[in-house]
């Protein structure tokens, strides 16, 4: 033992520690920050352990449409938008496994836009957004193995190899990513509202046929169902409101059948425009996402359902949930800053 703690070895250990700490600092600064999935994925690690009661998962239809500040303020629901742009179901499955390392949510709400809209077995357009926020682990490697063809793996892993040369593009927020910034980081709950208005055409789809769910998507949907059952969480499959196409509706019909087989709740919120008071002239940011005001209406209806289920407690005024109060303040600030003349 005395041989281990010689002066020479202490110097060695010291420099190893210094090197690792430098890499941590540098990595924190240089890592890519993006509200399309990286921030949502990375934000999970800043959340107080075992505080998330409802994890909202899926594509950007979650982190744009599900207003976690409203869910907290009006229902006391401790929700987190743990999603990524165009996230395929196989990535959602590994996201779920990552989530359960740190949280024990009572409910998982899974949006189904991605499997309805995208049919390829390997989808690369937003894969970076769905990967770079995750910590290194065997789970991450398995996710990459499933999501990326082997010949393209080096483009996405290791993450440091991707962002190490970002020193030319640094912004103020890059220096707010250290462990001493935990209060601000914990107040981010994944929700990234849009504030533009783009009128959309209200679709009246009545499509009874089903089909279009790819084998890979179906396989991972069933794995998600099975995994949430094992973990004892309630799974709710849903479709956030947006202008649906006939092909997409067919896929939703297929998923509804699977949900029925498995005894899982399935809600298509495209059937509830009137109930939520959705205005197609003013509540959309673009052809796929709600804006802030649309997200409030949708989230209110979603929150009503979650609160009424009796499975998720009201956490307002409880110790350990202060980050959600701070989150509400930050979203209010954002509304003031970016809501502009559109504010209602």
């Amino acid at each position: 033992m005395r041989k281990l703690f010689t002066r020479k070895n202490m110097i060695r250990f010291g420099f190893v520690a210094l090197f690792l700490f430098t890499i941590y600092l540098v990595s924190s600064v240089l890592s890519i920050k993006s509200g399309h999935g990286i921030d949502q994925q990375g934000g999970l690690y800043w959340q107080p352990e075992d505080t998330i009661d409802v994890a909202m998962m899926g594509s950007s239809h979650i982190h744009c449409n599900v207003n976690t500040a409203l869910l907290w303020e009006e229902y006391g629901i401790a929700a987190y938008d743990y999603s990524g742009a165009e996230q395929p179901l196989w990535m959602t499955y590994f996201y779920l496994r990552e989530l359960y390392k740190y949280q024990k949510p009572k409910m998982i709400v899974l949006d189904l836009y991605s499997p309805a809209r995208f049919k390829e077995d390997y989808q690369y357009k937003w894969i970076a957004e769905n990967t770079y926020g995750m910590r290194f682990s065997l789970n991450k490697l398995e996710m990459l193995a499933c999501s990326v063809e082997f010949s393209k793996l080096s483009r996405y892993y290791p993450s440091f190899a991707v962002y190490h040369s970002r020193y030319d593009d640094l912004e103020k927020e890059d220096f707010e990513n250290f462990f001493w910034d935990i209060e601000d980081k914990a107040a981010f709950k994944g929700y990234t509202p849009y504030f533009s208005i783009s009128p959309q055409v209200k679709q009246e789809i009545s499509e009874g046929e089903s089909g279009g769910l790819t084998p890979k998507s179906e396989k991972y949907l069933r794995k998600i169902i099975s995994y949430t059952k094992e973990q004892g969480s309630e799974l709710v499959l849903m479709v956030a409101p947006y202008p649906v196409t006939v092909d997409e509706q067919r896929t939703y019909n297929s998923i509804a059948q699977i949900a029925e087989q498995e005894g899982i709740t399935f809600i298509d919120y495209n059937d509830y425009y009137d109930e939520m008071g959705l205005d197609f002239e003013r509540d959309f940011n673009d052809g796929s996402h709600l804006n802030y005001w649309g997200s409030c209406k949708f989230s209110r209806l979603l929150g009503e359902f979650i609160a009424a289920s009796g499975k998720v407690p009201d956490r307002r005024m409880q110790e350990g949930y202060e980050s959600w109060d701070y989150h509400v303040e930050l979203i209010a600030e954002e509304l003031l800053t970016y809501g502009g003349n559109n504010n209602r």
Partner: protein
């Protein structure tokens, strides 16, 4: 290969096998891992390497056998024949593709034939080793090696396979026979090995690969730049090729040291040279000494008068140029250096020393590199002509900055890293020792601080990852 993700994994596995398996298997471990390394790069290259190795091994034994029987004439003709076969193989692989392209035959030949004309990895280097080995046996300077494991390793050792150094059998083989005595726990050896590799990766990844982007833009668009821009391009390439090749060499030396093998130092601060003769004693030392021993001296060296010496010098540099590549630009590069050497010799004969000789030597070398880098002779001549006649136009400098996609951070990294290279070379030149040994003399805290700085620099400023493709080691194409 050294900057690929494959290499650290490969090296780690070889180190574990080397030190964990019985010592009598060590040469086999190195040989087989070298073949795996070669196969990973190019499976066809492995077939060529194996063929050349077996050929060299068999020819060496045959030459020695003839000598033992007193058949000197026979042994000489076998040696000559074997060497001619090696030279022919080198010429075919090096020049066939070039000739096919120049004669416009590419479309007439099938794809499979064209594919086989691509030169196998490391061929130029290990063929020279075979030639040197056979010549040494024929001249009685060394004995033929019966053990194929040892000789195969001499030709194929992965650390030096891709771009040398061109080892001599008398230096390398005895080390193979002492592998059983190499201990893993020799900290001094591992520390210097680590330092060599770290410095090599710094030169390659931080400096050479970074400058490669700029050089590609400048040489690819010579008509867009003024004289200053083109001179800068020549300077960048001068630094790029040095850091690329020397960086590779240091990594190779470091790798080999892990296994207790000392490879030839290929570089000794070449840009600190006082004259061109001195430059060639510092640059690609293994090649220049090989050409001296196996070409220059057999031609007569400087023993046949001034005119023959000058002729021999020109021939050696002509061959040197042709060895580097198929193209008239390489021939011109070689002849330029030949001319420099002749002029330097004549000056030194008169006892004269040129003022600013170090700067002049650097300038002459940098000028010649233009021909080395250019796509072909006509591009090189256009580059040189524009560099000398375009003039300096400060109004265009902002557009150069944009074209080169430079930022203040990048400029800072380039300036600091080039300064560091110069400073280390100057220091090593004055102390007469390489960086790892200089660092070994320092206190532990200083040594580890240097390691820490180099590692952090490589991690942050190294050119790797998606969006970058690790620049092929320049000398690998030879």
């Amino acid at each position: 290969m050294f900057v690929s993700m494959f290499f650290p994994v490969f090296l780690g596995i070889v180190v574990v096998l080397f030190f964990c398996l019985p010592v009598r298997w060590r040469s086999a471990v190195l040989l087989l891992s070298s073949y795996v390394f070669c196969a990973y790069i190019d499976i066809r290259g492995l077939a060529v390497l194996l063929s050349v190795s077996v050929f060299g091994w068999a020819a060496g034994l045959r030459i020695e056998s003839m000598q033992r029987r007193g058949k000197r004439g026979r042994s000489r003709s076998i040696a000559v024949w074997a060497i001619m076969v090696c030279v022919l193989a080198l010429c075919v692989f090096k020049y066939s593709g070039y000739l096919v392209e120049r004669l416009g035959l590419a479309e007439a030949l099938p794809e499979s034939v064209l594919k086989n004309m691509v030169m196998p990895v490391g061929l130029s280097f290990y063929l020279f080793q075979v030639i040197g080995y056979l010549a040494d046996i024929e001249q009685g300077k060394s004995c033929a090696e019966r053990n194929f494991w040892f000789l195969g390793c001499y030709f194929a050792f992965f650390a030096k396979l891709v771009s040398g150094p061109i080892e001599r059998e008398k230096d390398f083989l005895p080390q193979m026979k002492r592998l059983s005595g190499v201990k893993f726990g020799d900290r001094g050896r591992l520390s210097t090995a680590f330092t060599y590799m770290l410095w090599g990766y710094f030169m390659k990844m931080v400096v050479a690969d970074r400058l490669a982007f700029l050089v590609e833009i400048i040489f690819g668009g010579a008509k867009e730049f003024d004289s200053l821009g083109l001179a800068a391009g020549a300077f960048f390439y001068t630094m790029q090729i040095y850091c690329d090749f020397a960086g590779y060499s240091y990594i190779a030396v470091g790798c080999a040291r892990i296994f207790g093998i000392e490879l030839t130092q290929n570089f000794k601060a070449p840009y600190q040279a006082e004259n061109i003769t001195d430059f060639w004693r510092r640059w690609h030392i293994s090649l220049s000494s090989w050409l001296r021993d196996y070409l220059y001296i057999p031609l007569g060296g400087n023993r046949k008068g001034i005119f023959r010496k000058c002729m021999n010098t020109m021939i050696v540099f002509l061959v040197c140029g042709m060895w580097h590549g198929a193209g008239l630009n390489f021939v011109v590069w070689g002849l330029l250096h030949g001319m420099y050497s002749v002029i330097d010799y004549l000056f030194q004969r008169k006892g004269r020393k040129l003022p600013g000789s170090r700067l002049l030597t650097f300038g002459a070398v940098a000028f010649a590199w233009i021909f080395f880098r250019a796509e072909d002779l006509s591009h090189a001549l256009v580059y040189v002509f524009r560099m000398l006649t375009a003039g300096v136009h400060p109004m265009q400098w902002k557009s150069f900055w944009i074209m080169l996609q430079l930022s203040y951070a990048e400029v800072a990294v380039i300036c600091i890293s080039i300064f560091l290279i110069w400073y280390v070379d100057e220091l090593c030149s004055r102390k007469g020792m390489h960086l790892p040994f200089l660092i070994q003399q320092k206190q532990n805290s200083v040594r580890y601080f240097i390691f820490y700085l180099l590692l952090i620099s490589i991690f942050i400023f190294g050119i790797y990852g998606p969006g970058y493709h690790a620049e092929q080691f320049i000398y690998m194409q030879f």
